[in-house]
Protein backbone atom coordinates (compact mmCIF):
# COMPACT_ATOMS: atom_id res chain seq x y z
CA UNK A 1 0.00 0.00 0.00
CA UNK A 2 1.26 3.41 -0.79
CA UNK A 3 -0.33 6.10 1.25
CA UNK A 4 1.23 9.34 0.33
CA UNK A 5 0.12 12.68 1.62
CA UNK A 6 -0.78 11.39 5.07
CA UNK A 7 -2.64 14.25 6.50
CA UNK A 8 -2.75 17.59 4.80
CA UNK A 9 -2.35 20.49 7.12
CA UNK A 10 -4.59 23.30 6.04
CA UNK A 11 -3.61 26.91 6.04
CA UNK A 12 -6.23 28.66 8.04
CA UNK A 13 -7.46 32.06 7.05
CA UNK A 14 -5.14 33.95 9.33
CA UNK A 15 -2.04 31.83 9.09
CA UNK A 16 0.92 33.66 7.74
CA UNK A 17 3.07 31.04 6.11
CA UNK A 18 2.58 27.47 5.17
CA UNK A 19 5.08 24.80 4.33
CA UNK A 20 8.24 26.51 5.51
CA UNK A 21 9.13 23.39 7.40
CA UNK A 22 8.34 19.99 6.01
CA UNK A 23 9.05 16.51 7.23
CA UNK A 24 8.98 13.55 4.85
CA UNK A 25 9.33 9.96 6.00
CA UNK A 26 9.37 7.04 3.57
CA UNK A 27 8.78 3.56 4.98
CA UNK A 28 8.91 0.08 3.53
CA UNK A 29 7.05 -2.12 6.01
CA UNK A 30 8.68 -1.44 9.34
CA UNK A 31 11.82 -0.06 7.78
CA UNK A 32 12.42 3.63 7.27
CA UNK A 33 14.07 4.18 3.90
CA UNK A 34 14.19 7.96 3.89
CA UNK A 35 13.78 10.88 6.28
CA UNK A 36 13.99 14.47 5.13
CA UNK A 37 13.43 17.50 7.31
CA UNK A 38 13.31 20.60 5.17
CA UNK A 39 13.81 23.92 6.82
CA UNK A 40 14.60 27.42 5.69
CA UNK A 41 17.12 29.30 7.69
CA UNK A 42 17.07 33.09 7.84
CA UNK A 43 20.44 33.51 9.59
CA UNK A 44 22.17 32.96 6.23
CA UNK A 45 20.51 36.07 4.93
CA UNK A 46 21.42 38.03 8.03
CA UNK A 47 25.08 37.08 7.68
CA UNK A 48 25.01 39.00 4.41
CA UNK A 49 23.05 41.93 5.90
CA UNK A 50 25.72 42.34 8.57
CA UNK A 51 28.66 42.79 6.21
CA UNK A 52 29.72 46.43 6.03
CA UNK A 53 27.62 47.47 9.01
CA UNK A 54 29.22 48.94 12.12
CA UNK A 55 29.80 46.44 14.94
CA UNK A 56 27.52 48.45 17.24
CA UNK A 57 24.58 47.53 14.98
CA UNK A 58 25.07 43.76 15.32
CA UNK A 59 22.93 43.27 18.47
CA UNK A 60 19.95 45.11 16.96
CA UNK A 61 20.21 43.48 13.54
CA UNK A 62 20.62 39.92 14.85
CA UNK A 63 17.79 40.37 17.40
CA UNK A 64 15.45 40.48 14.42
CA UNK A 65 16.31 36.97 13.31
CA UNK A 66 13.94 35.47 15.86
CA UNK A 67 10.88 36.81 17.65
CA UNK A 68 11.07 34.13 20.35
CA UNK A 69 14.77 34.28 21.16
CA UNK A 70 16.11 37.74 20.25
CA UNK A 71 18.17 37.92 23.45
CA UNK A 72 20.13 34.83 22.54
CA UNK A 73 21.08 36.46 19.25
CA UNK A 74 22.01 39.69 21.01
CA UNK A 75 24.05 37.91 23.65
CA UNK A 76 26.05 35.77 21.22
CA UNK A 77 26.64 38.89 19.10
CA UNK A 78 27.88 41.13 21.91
CA UNK A 79 30.11 38.45 23.44
CA UNK A 80 31.69 37.55 20.10
CA UNK A 81 32.40 41.20 19.27
CA UNK A 82 33.71 41.93 22.76
CA UNK A 83 36.12 39.01 22.32
CA UNK A 84 37.17 40.36 18.93
CA UNK A 85 37.99 43.72 20.52
CA UNK A 86 39.42 42.36 23.77
CA UNK A 87 36.83 44.18 25.91
CA UNK A 88 36.09 43.22 29.50
CA UNK A 89 32.65 44.06 30.82
CA UNK A 90 31.66 45.22 34.31
CA UNK A 91 30.70 42.31 36.63
CA UNK A 92 27.35 44.02 37.28
CA UNK A 93 26.66 44.05 33.55
CA UNK A 94 27.56 40.37 33.42
CA UNK A 95 24.92 39.72 36.11
CA UNK A 96 22.33 41.77 34.26
CA UNK A 97 22.97 39.76 31.13
CA UNK A 98 22.23 36.59 33.09
CA UNK A 99 19.00 38.13 34.30
CA UNK A 100 18.14 39.17 30.73
CA UNK A 101 18.63 35.56 29.62
CA UNK A 102 16.44 34.35 32.53
CA UNK A 103 13.63 36.46 31.07
CA UNK A 104 13.99 34.88 27.66
CA UNK A 105 14.16 31.32 28.99
CA UNK A 106 11.04 31.95 31.09
CA UNK A 107 9.12 33.32 28.09
CA UNK A 108 10.24 30.58 25.76
CA UNK A 109 9.97 27.60 28.13
CA UNK A 110 6.57 28.66 29.53
CA UNK A 111 5.25 28.96 25.99
CA UNK A 112 6.63 25.63 24.89
CA UNK A 113 5.88 23.54 27.98
CA UNK A 114 2.26 24.61 28.37
CA UNK A 115 1.03 25.99 25.10
CA UNK A 116 2.80 23.82 22.53
CA UNK A 117 3.99 20.62 24.19
CA UNK A 118 1.49 19.78 26.95
CA UNK A 119 -1.46 19.32 24.53
CA UNK A 120 0.47 16.46 22.89
CA UNK A 121 0.66 14.54 26.15
CA UNK A 122 -2.90 15.25 27.24
CA UNK A 123 -4.41 14.26 23.91
CA UNK A 124 -5.63 17.66 22.77
CA UNK A 125 -5.36 19.01 19.29
CA UNK A 126 -3.90 22.22 20.63
CA UNK A 127 -3.82 24.56 23.62
CA UNK A 128 -7.15 26.09 22.63
CA UNK A 129 -8.84 22.71 23.06
CA UNK A 130 -6.82 22.10 26.21
CA UNK A 131 -7.88 25.45 27.68
CA UNK A 132 -11.53 24.34 27.71
CA UNK A 133 -10.72 21.60 30.25
CA UNK A 134 -7.57 23.03 31.86
CA UNK A 135 -8.25 26.72 32.07
CA UNK A 136 -6.20 27.26 35.24
CA UNK A 137 -3.18 25.58 33.65
CA UNK A 138 -3.28 27.87 30.63
CA UNK A 139 -3.84 30.93 32.82
CA UNK A 140 -0.75 29.90 34.78
CA UNK A 141 1.27 29.60 31.58
CA UNK A 142 0.23 33.07 30.47
CA UNK A 143 1.18 34.55 33.82
CA UNK A 144 4.57 32.80 33.77
CA UNK A 145 5.26 34.08 30.29
CA UNK A 146 4.22 37.57 31.28
CA UNK A 147 6.79 37.60 34.08
CA UNK A 148 9.46 36.65 31.55
CA UNK A 149 8.22 39.52 29.36
CA UNK A 150 8.50 41.96 32.23
CA UNK A 151 12.19 41.07 32.75
CA UNK A 152 12.89 41.42 29.04
CA UNK A 153 10.96 44.67 28.89
CA UNK A 154 12.81 46.17 31.84
CA UNK A 155 16.29 45.25 30.59
CA UNK A 156 15.69 45.37 26.85
CA UNK A 157 13.58 48.50 26.63
CA UNK A 158 10.73 46.57 25.02
CA UNK A 159 9.48 42.99 24.84
CA UNK A 160 9.86 42.28 21.15
CA UNK A 161 13.16 43.07 19.47
CA UNK A 162 14.72 44.50 22.63
CA UNK A 163 16.99 47.45 21.94
CA UNK A 164 18.99 48.07 25.07
CA UNK A 165 21.72 45.41 24.79
CA UNK A 166 24.95 46.86 23.47
CA UNK A 167 28.51 45.84 22.80
CA UNK A 168 30.25 46.63 26.10
CA UNK A 169 27.10 46.54 28.26
CA UNK A 170 23.64 48.06 27.96
CA UNK A 171 22.47 51.43 26.66
CA UNK A 172 20.59 51.82 29.93
CA UNK A 173 20.59 49.76 33.13
CA UNK A 174 17.77 49.40 35.65
CA UNK A 175 17.83 50.75 39.18
CA UNK A 176 17.77 48.44 42.21
CA UNK A 177 14.28 49.66 42.91
CA UNK A 178 13.06 48.65 39.44
CA UNK A 179 14.52 45.16 39.87
CA UNK A 180 13.11 44.73 43.36
CA UNK A 181 9.64 45.47 41.99
CA UNK A 182 9.89 42.12 40.15
CA UNK A 183 10.54 40.03 43.26
CA UNK A 184 6.96 39.13 44.25
CA UNK A 185 6.16 37.93 40.74
CA UNK A 186 9.42 35.97 40.58
CA UNK A 187 8.69 34.25 43.87
CA UNK A 188 5.26 33.28 42.57
CA UNK A 189 6.94 32.08 39.36
CA UNK A 190 9.37 29.92 41.29
CA UNK A 191 6.53 28.16 43.11
CA UNK A 192 4.52 27.83 39.88
CA UNK A 193 7.56 26.32 38.16
CA UNK A 194 8.01 23.76 40.93
CA UNK A 195 4.37 22.80 40.41
CA UNK A 196 5.10 22.61 36.67
CA UNK A 197 7.89 20.10 37.29
CA UNK A 198 5.57 17.95 39.39
CA UNK A 199 2.71 18.25 36.92
CA UNK A 200 4.75 17.37 33.83
CA UNK A 201 6.33 14.40 35.61
CA UNK A 202 2.89 12.75 35.83
CA UNK A 203 2.47 12.70 32.03
CA UNK A 204 2.87 9.47 30.06
CA UNK A 205 6.09 9.33 28.05
CA UNK A 206 6.75 7.02 25.10
CA UNK A 207 9.51 4.51 25.76
CA UNK A 208 12.15 6.00 23.47
CA UNK A 209 15.73 6.33 24.65
CA UNK A 210 18.61 7.19 22.35
CA UNK A 211 22.35 7.23 22.77
CA UNK A 212 22.85 10.94 22.15
CA UNK A 213 26.03 12.96 22.11
CA UNK A 214 24.89 15.86 24.30
CA UNK A 215 26.59 19.19 23.62
CA UNK A 216 26.27 22.24 25.88
CA UNK A 217 28.26 24.98 27.53
CA UNK A 218 29.78 24.24 30.91
CA UNK A 219 30.94 26.89 33.35
CA UNK A 220 32.93 26.11 36.53
CA UNK A 221 30.51 27.93 38.85
CA UNK A 222 27.11 28.23 37.27
CA UNK A 223 24.43 26.74 35.06
CA UNK A 224 25.36 28.08 31.63
CA UNK A 225 23.94 31.09 29.82
CA UNK A 226 26.63 33.32 28.35
CA UNK A 227 29.95 31.71 29.12
CA UNK A 228 31.77 28.44 29.46
CA UNK A 229 33.58 25.80 27.50
CA UNK A 230 31.71 23.70 25.00
CA UNK A 231 31.60 20.13 26.28
CA UNK A 232 29.96 16.82 25.47
CA UNK A 233 29.42 13.45 27.14
CA UNK A 234 31.96 11.99 24.67
CA UNK A 235 34.95 14.06 25.65
CA UNK A 236 34.51 17.25 23.67
CA UNK A 237 35.94 20.16 25.69
CA UNK A 238 36.73 23.25 23.63
CA UNK A 239 36.71 27.04 23.59
CA UNK A 240 34.25 28.81 21.28
CA UNK A 241 37.22 29.78 19.11
CA UNK A 242 37.73 26.10 18.26
CA UNK A 243 34.10 25.47 17.29
CA UNK A 244 34.61 25.55 13.54
CA UNK A 245 37.57 23.17 13.82
CA UNK A 246 35.44 20.53 15.50
CA UNK A 247 32.02 21.08 13.95
CA UNK A 248 31.32 21.09 10.27
CA UNK A 249 28.28 22.23 8.31
CA UNK A 250 27.17 19.99 5.48
CA UNK A 251 24.99 20.98 2.58
CA UNK A 252 22.09 18.65 1.93
CA UNK A 253 19.97 18.72 -1.19
CA UNK A 254 16.60 18.67 0.54
CA UNK A 255 17.06 21.62 2.88
CA UNK A 256 18.11 25.24 2.67
CA UNK A 257 19.61 24.86 6.10
CA UNK A 258 23.07 23.39 6.55
CA UNK A 259 23.36 20.28 8.74
CA UNK A 260 25.87 20.56 11.54
CA UNK A 261 27.82 17.48 12.58
CA UNK A 262 30.76 16.87 14.87
CA UNK A 263 33.69 16.24 12.58
CA UNK A 264 34.28 12.51 12.27
CA UNK A 265 31.33 11.60 14.54
CA UNK A 266 27.97 12.83 13.22
CA UNK A 267 24.82 14.20 14.76
CA UNK A 268 24.54 15.60 18.27
CA UNK A 269 21.91 17.06 20.55
CA UNK A 270 21.79 20.61 21.91
CA UNK A 271 19.17 22.18 24.16
CA UNK A 272 17.61 21.59 27.57
CA UNK A 273 18.33 17.86 27.77
CA UNK A 274 22.00 18.40 26.90
CA UNK A 275 22.37 21.28 29.35
CA UNK A 276 20.67 19.34 32.13
CA UNK A 277 22.71 16.19 31.62
CA UNK A 278 26.02 18.03 31.43
CA UNK A 279 25.36 20.59 34.16
CA UNK A 280 23.08 18.94 36.69
CA UNK A 281 25.58 19.66 39.48
CA UNK A 282 25.45 23.39 38.68
CA UNK A 283 21.70 23.68 39.13
CA UNK A 284 20.61 25.37 42.35
CA UNK A 285 19.54 22.95 45.07
CA UNK A 286 15.85 23.78 44.62
CA UNK A 287 16.00 22.75 40.95
CA UNK A 288 18.08 19.61 41.62
CA UNK A 289 15.65 18.49 44.29
CA UNK A 290 12.63 19.12 42.05
CA UNK A 291 14.26 17.14 39.25
CA UNK A 292 15.10 14.19 41.49
CA UNK A 293 11.59 14.11 42.93
CA UNK A 294 10.24 14.10 39.38
CA UNK A 295 12.36 11.03 38.64
CA UNK A 296 14.87 12.87 36.47
CA UNK A 297 18.39 11.70 37.03
CA UNK A 298 21.11 12.50 34.52
CA UNK A 299 21.67 11.21 31.94
CA UNK A 300 18.08 11.54 30.76
CA UNK A 301 18.01 9.92 27.32
CA UNK A 302 14.30 10.09 26.54
CA UNK A 303 13.68 13.24 24.51
CA UNK A 304 9.96 13.21 25.36
CA UNK A 305 10.94 13.95 28.95
CA UNK A 306 12.40 17.27 27.81
CA UNK A 307 9.06 18.83 28.83
CA UNK A 308 9.96 18.18 32.49
CA UNK A 309 13.57 19.23 31.92
CA UNK A 310 12.30 22.55 30.54
CA UNK A 311 10.19 22.89 33.68
CA UNK A 312 13.33 22.29 35.80
CA UNK A 313 15.06 25.01 33.78
CA UNK A 314 12.11 27.28 34.56
CA UNK A 315 12.77 26.66 38.26
CA UNK A 316 16.43 27.50 37.66
CA UNK A 317 15.60 30.68 35.72
CA UNK A 318 13.33 32.00 38.45
CA UNK A 319 15.80 31.09 41.22
CA UNK A 320 18.65 32.67 39.27
CA UNK A 321 16.66 35.84 38.59
CA UNK A 322 15.97 36.17 42.31
CA UNK A 323 19.65 35.57 43.12
CA UNK A 324 20.79 38.23 40.65
CA UNK A 325 18.31 40.78 41.95
CA UNK A 326 19.30 40.12 45.57
CA UNK A 327 22.97 40.84 44.84
CA UNK A 328 22.65 43.57 42.20
CA UNK A 329 24.45 46.86 42.53
CA UNK A 330 24.28 49.07 39.41
CA UNK A 331 27.53 49.26 37.41
CA UNK A 332 29.60 52.46 37.46
CA UNK A 333 28.63 52.98 33.82
CA UNK A 334 26.03 51.11 31.72
CA UNK A 335 28.73 50.14 29.24
CA UNK A 336 32.44 50.37 28.72
CA UNK A 337 33.93 52.35 25.84
CA UNK A 338 34.12 50.32 22.65
CA UNK A 339 37.12 51.13 20.45
CA UNK A 340 37.09 50.68 16.68
CA UNK A 341 39.79 48.13 16.08
CA UNK A 342 40.29 45.10 13.88
CA UNK A 343 39.80 41.62 15.27
CA UNK A 344 38.04 38.28 15.09
CA UNK A 345 35.88 36.91 17.89
CA UNK A 346 33.65 33.91 18.49
CA UNK A 347 31.05 33.28 21.17
CA UNK A 348 28.56 30.63 22.10
CA UNK A 349 25.60 31.24 24.38
CA UNK A 350 22.73 29.00 25.43
CA UNK A 351 19.54 30.00 23.62
CA UNK A 352 16.42 28.35 25.09
CA UNK A 353 16.66 25.60 22.46
CA UNK A 354 20.43 25.13 22.56
CA UNK A 355 23.80 26.60 21.70
CA UNK A 356 23.98 29.58 19.35
CA UNK A 357 27.36 30.26 17.73
CA UNK A 358 28.42 33.64 16.34
CA UNK A 359 31.72 34.68 14.76
CA UNK A 360 32.57 38.20 13.59
CA UNK A 361 35.58 39.68 11.86
CA UNK A 362 35.72 43.47 12.12
CA UNK A 363 38.12 45.95 10.49
CA UNK A 364 39.98 48.92 12.00
CA UNK A 365 36.94 51.18 11.44
CA UNK A 366 34.72 48.80 13.39
CA UNK A 367 32.93 47.59 10.27
CA UNK A 368 31.88 43.95 10.06
CA UNK A 369 33.84 42.12 7.38
CA UNK A 370 32.30 38.67 7.88
CA UNK A 371 29.67 37.21 10.18
CA UNK A 372 28.79 33.60 10.84
CA UNK A 373 25.71 32.49 12.77
CA UNK A 374 24.86 28.86 13.55
CA UNK A 375 21.51 28.55 15.35
CA UNK A 376 20.53 25.63 17.59
CA UNK A 377 17.86 24.19 15.31
CA UNK A 378 20.26 23.73 12.42
CA UNK A 379 22.58 21.94 14.84
CA UNK A 380 19.75 19.64 15.93
CA UNK A 381 18.42 19.08 12.42
CA UNK A 382 20.50 15.97 11.65
CA UNK A 383 19.66 14.59 15.10
CA UNK A 384 15.92 15.11 14.49
CA UNK A 385 16.20 13.03 11.31
CA UNK A 386 18.18 10.34 13.15
CA UNK A 387 15.53 10.20 15.89
CA UNK A 388 12.71 9.79 13.38
CA UNK A 389 14.59 7.01 11.63
CA UNK A 390 14.56 5.15 14.98
CA UNK A 391 11.10 6.24 16.12
CA UNK A 392 8.99 5.75 12.98
CA UNK A 393 9.38 1.90 12.94
CA UNK A 394 7.78 1.80 16.42
CA UNK A 395 4.72 3.36 14.81
CA UNK A 396 4.47 0.95 11.87
CA UNK A 397 1.28 -0.66 13.20
CA UNK A 398 -0.45 2.65 13.87
CA UNK A 399 -2.95 4.13 11.43
CA UNK A 400 -1.22 6.59 9.15
CA UNK A 401 -2.80 9.70 10.57
CA UNK A 402 -1.89 8.82 14.14
CA UNK A 403 1.64 7.84 13.14
CA UNK A 404 2.03 11.17 11.38
CA UNK A 405 0.79 12.94 14.48
CA UNK A 406 3.22 10.99 16.68
CA UNK A 407 6.10 12.02 14.44
CA UNK A 408 5.07 15.65 14.73
CA UNK A 409 5.10 15.25 18.49
CA UNK A 410 8.61 13.84 18.35
CA UNK A 411 9.79 16.83 16.35
CA UNK A 412 8.03 19.15 18.79
CA UNK A 413 10.23 17.82 21.63
CA UNK A 414 13.05 19.82 20.04
CA UNK A 415 11.00 23.05 20.11
CA UNK A 416 12.49 23.69 16.69
CA UNK A 417 12.83 27.22 15.47
CA UNK A 418 12.17 26.27 11.91
CA UNK A 419 12.21 29.67 10.36
CA UNK A 420 12.29 31.96 13.34
CA UNK A 421 8.75 33.21 12.74
CA UNK A 422 5.30 31.71 12.92
CA UNK A 423 5.32 28.66 10.74
CA UNK A 424 3.98 25.26 10.04
CA UNK A 425 5.50 21.86 9.90
CA UNK A 426 4.02 19.68 7.21
CA UNK A 427 4.54 16.00 7.91
CA UNK A 428 4.20 13.33 5.29
CA UNK A 429 4.65 9.61 5.80
CA UNK A 430 4.90 7.53 2.66
CA UNK A 431 4.27 3.83 3.30
CA UNK A 432 4.93 1.09 0.80
Amino acid sequence: MTASGGRTIKVDTLARVEGEGALYIKMKGERVTDVKLKIYEPPRLFEAFLRGRHLSEAPDITARICGICPIAYQMSAVHAIERALGIRIDPAVRLLRRLFYCGEWIESHALHVYMLHAPDFLGYQDVIEMAKDHRAVVEKALRLKKIGNSIVHLLGGREIHPISAAVGGFHKVPTKHQLHALVDDLQWGLEASLETVRWTSTLQFPDFEQDYEFVALRHPDEYPFNEGRLVSNRGLDIDAAEYEDRFVELQVKHSNALHSVIRGRGSYLVGPLARFNLNFDKLPEVAQKAAMEAGLKPPVKNLFRSITVRAVELVFAFAEALRVIATYEPPAAPRVTVPDRAGVGQAITEAPRGILYHRYAVDEKGLIVTAKIIPPTSQNQRRIEDDLREYAPQLAAWPLEEATWKCEQAVRCYDPCISCATHFLKVEIDRE
Binding site: L45, G67, L116, P119, R412, A421, T422, H423
Partner: protein, 156 residues
Protein backbone atom coordinates in the same frame (compact mmCIF):
# COMPACT_ATOMS: atom_id res chain seq x y z
CA UNK B 1 -16.62 54.64 13.11
CA UNK B 2 -13.92 54.11 15.70
CA UNK B 3 -14.03 55.49 19.19
CA UNK B 4 -11.30 57.77 20.48
CA UNK B 5 -8.87 55.56 22.40
CA UNK B 6 -9.39 52.54 20.16
CA UNK B 7 -6.32 50.29 20.20
CA UNK B 8 -4.74 49.52 16.82
CA UNK B 9 -2.26 46.66 16.45
CA UNK B 10 -0.36 45.81 13.28
CA UNK B 11 0.99 42.24 13.26
CA UNK B 12 3.62 40.57 11.17
CA UNK B 13 7.26 40.20 10.32
CA UNK B 14 8.95 42.85 8.19
CA UNK B 15 11.61 40.38 7.13
CA UNK B 16 9.10 38.21 5.26
CA UNK B 17 7.75 40.18 2.33
CA UNK B 18 3.98 40.58 2.46
CA UNK B 19 3.87 39.25 6.02
CA UNK B 20 4.94 42.74 7.06
CA UNK B 21 1.66 44.31 5.81
CA UNK B 22 0.18 44.81 9.29
CA UNK B 23 3.39 46.36 10.64
CA UNK B 24 3.68 48.65 7.60
CA UNK B 25 0.09 49.80 8.10
CA UNK B 26 0.78 50.54 11.78
CA UNK B 27 3.86 52.54 10.84
CA UNK B 28 1.94 54.49 8.18
CA UNK B 29 -0.78 55.28 10.71
CA UNK B 30 1.96 56.54 13.04
CA UNK B 31 3.11 59.03 10.39
CA UNK B 32 -0.47 60.37 10.30
CA UNK B 33 -0.37 60.91 14.06
CA UNK B 34 -2.52 57.85 14.80
CA UNK B 35 -0.97 55.67 17.46
CA UNK B 36 -0.68 52.00 16.53
CA UNK B 37 1.26 49.19 18.20
CA UNK B 38 3.23 46.62 16.28
CA UNK B 39 3.59 43.02 17.25
CA UNK B 40 4.84 39.78 15.75
CA UNK B 41 1.46 38.14 16.23
CA UNK B 42 2.38 35.47 18.77
CA UNK B 43 -0.78 34.52 20.69
CA UNK B 44 0.18 35.32 24.28
CA UNK B 45 1.88 38.55 23.21
CA UNK B 46 -1.31 39.64 21.42
CA UNK B 47 -3.57 38.79 24.34
CA UNK B 48 -1.26 40.82 26.56
CA UNK B 49 -1.25 43.72 24.10
CA UNK B 50 -5.05 44.03 24.01
CA UNK B 51 -5.57 43.27 27.70
CA UNK B 52 -7.83 45.96 29.20
CA UNK B 53 -8.78 47.42 25.80
CA UNK B 54 -12.44 47.66 24.89
CA UNK B 55 -12.17 48.31 21.16
CA UNK B 56 -9.33 46.79 19.11
CA UNK B 57 -8.40 46.82 15.44
CA UNK B 58 -5.92 44.18 14.27
CA UNK B 59 -4.19 44.44 10.93
CA UNK B 60 -2.47 41.32 9.62
CA UNK B 61 -1.39 39.64 6.41
CA UNK B 62 -3.46 36.61 5.43
CA UNK B 63 -3.36 33.80 2.90
CA UNK B 64 -6.85 32.67 1.98
CA UNK B 65 -6.32 32.07 -1.72
CA UNK B 66 -7.90 35.40 -2.75
CA UNK B 67 -6.12 37.82 -5.08
CA UNK B 68 -3.09 39.54 -3.57
CA UNK B 69 -4.03 42.90 -2.09
CA UNK B 70 -7.63 41.89 -1.29
CA UNK B 71 -8.70 43.48 2.00
CA UNK B 72 -10.82 41.25 4.25
CA UNK B 73 -12.59 42.53 7.33
CA UNK B 74 -13.73 40.18 10.07
CA UNK B 75 -15.57 40.78 13.29
CA UNK B 76 -13.53 38.56 15.62
CA UNK B 77 -16.36 38.35 18.14
CA UNK B 78 -18.08 36.03 15.68
CA UNK B 79 -16.75 32.49 15.21
CA UNK B 80 -13.91 32.42 12.68
CA UNK B 81 -12.48 29.65 10.60
CA UNK B 82 -9.35 28.23 12.16
CA UNK B 83 -7.01 25.55 10.93
CA UNK B 84 -5.22 23.00 12.97
CA UNK B 85 -2.89 25.21 14.92
CA UNK B 86 -1.07 22.36 16.58
CA UNK B 87 0.74 21.76 13.31
CA UNK B 88 2.89 24.68 14.30
CA UNK B 89 5.81 23.50 16.34
CA UNK B 90 6.99 26.78 17.66
CA UNK B 91 4.38 29.45 17.99
CA UNK B 92 0.77 30.36 17.65
CA UNK B 93 -0.56 33.14 15.56
CA UNK B 94 -3.37 35.63 15.38
CA UNK B 95 -6.18 33.14 14.72
CA UNK B 96 -5.06 31.07 17.69
CA UNK B 97 -4.85 34.18 19.87
CA UNK B 98 -8.45 35.00 19.06
CA UNK B 99 -9.65 31.44 19.64
CA UNK B 100 -7.71 31.08 22.90
CA UNK B 101 -8.84 34.48 24.14
CA UNK B 102 -12.44 33.49 23.40
CA UNK B 103 -12.04 30.35 25.52
CA UNK B 104 -10.42 32.28 28.36
CA UNK B 105 -12.86 35.23 28.18
CA UNK B 106 -10.04 37.55 27.21
CA UNK B 107 -11.47 38.88 23.95
CA UNK B 108 -11.98 42.64 23.80
CA UNK B 109 -15.65 43.65 23.57
CA UNK B 110 -15.01 44.86 20.01
CA UNK B 111 -12.31 43.26 17.90
CA UNK B 112 -12.12 43.78 14.18
CA UNK B 113 -9.47 42.23 11.96
CA UNK B 114 -8.27 43.76 8.71
CA UNK B 115 -6.69 40.92 6.73
CA UNK B 116 -4.53 41.91 3.79
CA UNK B 117 -4.10 39.09 1.31
CA UNK B 118 -0.41 38.48 0.64
CA UNK B 119 1.32 36.45 -2.02
CA UNK B 120 4.98 36.20 -1.04
CA UNK B 121 6.18 35.44 2.45
CA UNK B 122 9.76 34.32 1.92
CA UNK B 123 12.46 35.75 4.15
CA UNK B 124 14.20 38.73 2.59
CA UNK B 125 11.57 39.45 -0.08
CA UNK B 126 10.08 42.89 -0.73
CA UNK B 127 6.44 43.69 -0.08
CA UNK B 128 4.46 43.19 -3.31
CA UNK B 129 2.95 46.28 -5.01
CA UNK B 130 -0.59 44.88 -4.58
CA UNK B 131 -0.05 44.60 -0.82
CA UNK B 132 1.45 48.09 -0.62
CA UNK B 133 -1.71 49.47 -2.28
CA UNK B 134 -3.86 47.47 0.14
CA UNK B 135 -1.88 48.83 3.10
CA UNK B 136 -2.65 52.35 1.90
CA UNK B 137 -6.33 51.47 1.53
CA UNK B 138 -6.54 50.04 5.06
CA UNK B 139 -4.73 53.07 6.48
CA UNK B 140 -7.15 55.39 4.67
CA UNK B 141 -10.18 53.48 5.93
CA UNK B 142 -8.98 53.44 9.53
CA UNK B 143 -7.97 57.12 9.42
CA UNK B 144 -11.43 58.01 8.06
CA UNK B 145 -13.16 56.02 10.77
CA UNK B 146 -11.08 57.72 13.44
CA UNK B 147 -11.82 61.15 11.99
CA UNK B 148 -15.54 60.30 12.09
CA UNK B 149 -15.20 59.12 15.68
CA UNK B 150 -13.48 62.37 16.66
CA UNK B 151 -16.18 64.46 14.98
CA UNK B 152 -18.88 62.49 16.68
CA UNK B 153 -17.27 62.77 20.13
CA UNK B 154 -16.64 66.52 19.75
CA UNK B 155 -20.25 67.04 18.56
CA UNK B 156 -21.53 65.46 21.76
Amino acid sequence: MLSVGCLIIGCGNRQRGDDGAGVLAAERLGTLGIEAKTCLGEASELMEAWSGADEVILIDAVATGAAAGTVHVWNARLPMARGRSSSSTHGMGVAEAIALARTLDRLPAHLRVYGIEGKRFEVGTEVSPEVMRAVEEVVRRIANEIAQGQESSSAR
